[in-house]
Symmetry: C2
Subunit: 288 residues, 2 copies
């Protein structure tokens, strides 16, 4: 029997902390025009997708990220029919979005090889979502795609990689502005925002910038075992719907009517996740 | 200038995942009769205390753990005067407890060398708490100490290491029973409960056992950047006070009257931290 071995992430977004995983075997590795994709089988988290040396998703804990980036905005918006996903090559966000009665879910992923590798080696994540009749997969640069959309989407979910490789453009203020323009007048968008502990300066700047476009900019939190840095943040921006005004009773009713099956999300968590510790509130909103 | 280097934790509580930290230099190392203590200076978290190869606390994020294990029970109890801390050699819990008007805070730590090393190399954590006139430090086995106490404490905080070394006895049902007997009739206790993702079976058993002694057993959550495994749990057990009945307004009033200075804790977080994702609720309470 082969011996397990410890694998330390080869990259570190934060330069100060990395994840070490006990690995059973390497399954797949490919250098694409955009990045290096690797899939391994791990001792504690099932199959794990790495991109450029950083953990992107694992079979065991992917439900936390995918449910929270999807259901919070989908249950906030009164009637999300047209949804755009930027990135999301593993198919997890698409799977969750399609649990809602949306008319069209368009996914724009820059690297077809991510989709191919995940469909082949981690099909449990997309669960056939790529073949759904309401799904449309476009292989393109998300930045460029959004730039050409006006007043087109109820919801945009930015499920990007961290700002190291091709995803760098998605952390550019021009992109946020284009997201604003691509949304309909009741539109909502969500951005994965990384560690709320390690990236305080970046998140503050991101918040400030988005506030110049959107009247409502809010952070909500979860914790993901294989993402370093304590609370993991999502930024929700909204053109018209006030996320603080939507009550628990209304979200509970929608959740029940949709008969959503979730492993993480529930309407109580929806609201609890917007409550911030003092230090996060302070750095996001202090005047200095 | 010396080069930084990556240090992977040498032990793994969970056998599947470890923390890798960028380190500037090693500061202190000692093998005591109980365990190996190491202190290093890190690139992202200031000074870091390791015990038997596992991160225990860091200067940068210790406030999260220490505030949450202390202020939640202290603000739940109507009048906590006599507080017992088991473990807590770095002094962080004692520091937070002494922000409240307690009459006596007794800390029972098995290994004097932990206190000595932390006072010398990480004095920012205890902030002089060991010298406070209301603090009493006892070097003894916490299991044995609690066994000899009856109807003695308003609050017991179990700030133990993980169940690998000398702390193993603190994860024994006999200890929970002794905690019950050591508490006064309105008494409350809190146990650090590790990762709510990695230790599902252990936490379920722990909950079941405590329910046979305490009428109220609840989990509350935080996320700590240098503790692996997503949401970190604390278990709150209570003999008489119902944690669900204490309202936000009451806790807000107490918090304001005490004029508590906190970096993490606030009354909204107090209640939000008791809201559990579905999968945690399921494994803690399902019948099977």
């Amino acid at each position: 029997m082969a011996k397990n071995f410890w694998l330390l992430e080869s990259a570190s977004l934060y330069k100060t902390v990395k994840l070490g995983l006990a690995i059973k075997r390497k399954i797949f590795s490919k250098k694409t025009p955009y990045q290096k994709i690797e899939i391994v089988d791990s001792l504690g988290f099932g199959k794990v997708l790495f991109i450029d040396g950083l953990v992107q998703t694992t079979q065991a804990d992917e439900f936390i990220y995918h449910e929270m980036i999807s259901h919070v905005p989908l249950l906030l918006h009164p009637n999300p029919k047209k949804v755009l996903i930027i990135g999301g090559g593993d198919g997890g966000v698409l799977r969750e979005v399609l649990k809602h009665p949306v008319k069209e879910a368009i996914m724009v992923e820059i690297d077809q090889d991510v989709i191919r590798a995940c469909e082949r080696f981690m099909p449990e994540i997309s669960e056939g979502a790529f073949q759904n009749k309401n799904a449309k997969i476009i292989i393109d640069d998300g930045f460029k795609f959004v730039k050409n959309q006006k007043d087109a989407f109820d919801l945009i979910i930015v499920d990007s990689c961290d700002p190291l490789g091709p995803a760098k453009k998605l952390f550019n203020p021009e992109f946020y502005k284009n997201v604003y323009l691509a949304l309909k007048k009741e539109g909502v968008a969500v951005f994965q925002s990384g560690s709320t502990f390690m990236q305080q300066k970046e998140l503050r700047a991101f918040f400030e910038k988005n506030k110049s476009y959107f009247p409502f900019v809010r952070m909500y939190l979860t914790a993901i075992p294989t993402y370093e840095g304590g609370f993991y943040g999502f930024t929700l921006v909204s053109k018209k719907i006030n996320p603080d005004k939507e009550g628990l009773a209304a979200v509970e009713k929608k959740f029940k009517n949709l008969n959503l099956k979730t492993k993480y999300y529930n309407p109580q968590i929806h609201f609890a996740s917007f409550v911030l510790p003092n230090y996060i509130k302070d750095y996001l909103t202090s005047k200095k």
